[in-house]
Symmetry: C2
Subunit: 500 residues, 2 copies
Amino acid sequence: MEDSVNRLRFKRLGIHTQHEHFAYMREDCEVCISEGFEALTRIRITSGRKSIVASLNVIRTDILTPEEISLSESAILALGIKEGKYVTISHLNPINSLSYVRSKIYGNNLSAIKLKEIIEDIVSGNYSNVHLSAFITACAGNRMTSDEITFLTQAMISSGQRLSWKNKLVVDKHCIGGLPGNRTTPIIVSIVTAFGLTMPKTSSRAITSPAGTADTMEVMTIVNLTMAQIIKVVEKEGGCIAWGSTAKLSPADDILIRVEKSLDLDSEGQLIASVLSKKAAAGSNHVVIDMPIGDTAKIRSIEAANKLKVEMEKVAHAIGIKLKIVITDGTQPVGRGIGPALEARDILSVLRNEENAPTDLKERAILLAGELLELSGKVELGDGNEKARKILESGEAYKKFKAICNAQGRFTEPKLALYKHEIKADLAGTVIKVDNRRLAKIAKLAGAPSDKEAGIDFMAPIGIEVEKGQTLYIIYAESRGELEYAMEYYNSQTDILTIE
Amino acid sequence: MEDSVNRLRFKRLGIHTQHEHFAYMREDCEVCISEGFEALTRIRITSGRKSIVASLNVIRTDILTPEEISLSESAILALGIKEGKYVTISHLNPINSLSYVRSKIYGNNLSAIKLKEIIEDIVSGNYSNVHLSAFITACAGNRMTSDEITFLTQAMISSGQRLSWKNKLVVDKHCIGGLPGNRTTPIIVSIVTAFGLTMPKTSSRAITSPAGTADTMEVMTIVNLTMAQIIKVVEKEGGCIAWGSTAKLSPADDILIRVEKSLDLDSEGQLIASVLSKKAAAGSNHVVIDMPIGDTAKIRSIEAANKLKVEMEKVAHAIGIKLKIVITDGTQPVGRGIGPALEARDILSVLRNEENAPTDLKERAILLAGELLELSGKVELGDGNEKARKILESGEAYKKFKAICNAQGRFTEPKLALYKHEIKADLAGTVIKVDNRRLAKIAKLAGAPSDKEAGIDFMAPIGIEVEKGQTLYIIYAESRGELEYAMEYYNSQTDILTIE
């Protein structure tokens, strides 16, 4: 009987709400009235054999008729529904695993089975953002035991796909709390795969920054690979540097991480589970963690780093990953370029051993690649750095990088945008402060990351002495309009760089 | 400069999202691109001198143009903006008080000043549902000290209006976790105001139930009173029974309570702050709390009730409220009617001392009114119940009830709906179980609470012996269609009543 009463016709409005599914129904539609549905009620929506949970927003204008329902983009995808089809709307039975979340809020520990059920419900979209936030909060503040973190990591691994590779020894690296311009990844992959290790690397695109590793790589090659293509590239070249979105590895992590960001909450347990579940699901078993420490970095003190290190090693051990945590300098951006093409140029200049290649980027890549070589057991402890340097400086790494790019579909030389404006020093002195946030904003106003060639070439790191009139940085844009747009913002600001 | 770049024209789409403000912008609009805004980014929207914080949903169809922005209904109200006007969109500076929430998550206690800032931000709409959920979760699980609960209560009181009354002694009652049909309020107000006490009572409408006290009162009088009208009625008659929505008392509570419901989380601290802040803001200083205990009630054991009692009395003392907690039976619905007019009929039959008046409703009202009389200090301890009974049975309470109704605008006799269907017992036996949730659904499908005369007249409480063919309940509806609609559901169900 529910079927005949609670049916509405689907109309797409194209509202993108991220992970949480939303349904839109007229306030005066029969279903809302008879069921007592109101804004934010959680309801079940069924189409054929597929069924999802959604939060309700009620509509008071004629963008919908009382016979229609709309769904957020994620809900449309999950239901696989076409415009004009009918869906059934019903009351939601209580989500069982939410009682475990409440139990955790009241201070009880969660078992492996309960954490698995929670993670499965999260991946199925059964939790609203309110529920996700409660789960994250209940687990934060060091309220998870080592066992719970291990269970959570295992639950997250089994929530999605899990890759396996012909070569049993699979390496990876991860940087906790990225630094601007820290594009060591393509260089490290090139070095360790040139050495002969397997490193199937997937990276992300920019969310709020002017470039992610995937955006930068896209300047030089194709990153939008299917899982089958990634496997083919890795089988041929030993490694890849692809966009990670198509692989459904630890999907729970993608959902939780958005809510954590929104709370600006770095829960130790969630962080460990996030990083290690992604690596384990990708089939990696030897992982180097780059842990930059600095005032604006995610980890701010050696003490905090060491605490995290101990806990992370415990969990890694439990899930069969050999882990090496490398503490690095997180006080400054790395490299010179800000924006996809400019960062790609930095990477290539390091790989090509050009004279003006950014030393910080090169040394950081060698350090981490060396650690990976040693961790793999194929290079003696203490010899990794030298070995990595040799592979890079001999040109082998560059050769491998081009081979990987070609295997991914093409190798293209980065170009810089036609329109540019040089920002010069007003006075002589030493650069003592750089506002990375506002520099990033200028790069974005100039068009990065969607305009690949746009961005900033930055030549004035902290500590450098400059003369009056010396170029501090150059703003690049693909059109005159965008350059003016970025300049307009630049002109409205003061003290992006402080010189004393 | 931000002004010239980040301006969009407002178009109303009529999307109602409850308290959290949402903004809708085209994914390909210049502001989203240049600012790096994506779904769920928190942004500041300014119109004239008013400014709000909203969560962003991005739009991928032409329900908006790239030059337009839409806002959720709550955001439109908060900005006071008209269609076609321009708004300015800007990045949001971090909300300072969220760092206090994080501090609480990490186990630190919150000071009065910090809790005040949190509550002010919540009332201003600066917290998303994700933030609200984190705050509630961090305070749940008995993680608040008595001091913190007191500070929270005080912060909530000062977040909105605060009423004061000529008569210094002001009484009120509150029921924690309402029971179906528990309409003691109008009877209690009539008794204690007939005695001479001041009781400015405001009640809520139904959210998901077939009737709230305000819906029931609306059958007999006008409940939609302005603050000025409430004051006038109370000055004349000593009391009122109005809808509480127009008075902006403890507005933070209204916001927090929705998120708590969504989490199904009864945090002791939040519950105490919620109840006591509303009462204090309404100017009450002598309050009786009806605390029903039962398996399906909010409080499930005497032990839990006593724990809550101790903490609640501590906070009440700190904010200057004299409190009496009365533990009552919460195992069964009270009265016979389900739906506004049917419940109004029960109230009147008690006030008029009719022979078939529901005894449970009458005795409960007398009990609580007696406690209020004693708490006021105007009646000796031990004499309250007798005094309350006398006022009710003498007809004084009924006289006062009609006077209050007339002061509020009218007194109207409730009528029952024309269309009805009697549900009869299939077999003889004892009623051992009643599914209140499904009974409520039938009442709602029949039209309650928007159709005031619709609902259920229920004659078969647990424990009663019935004969085969005896009427168990009668379904009332204002139209034949709605009656059929309710019956269709009824026919699809089994065991709404269990007879053995």
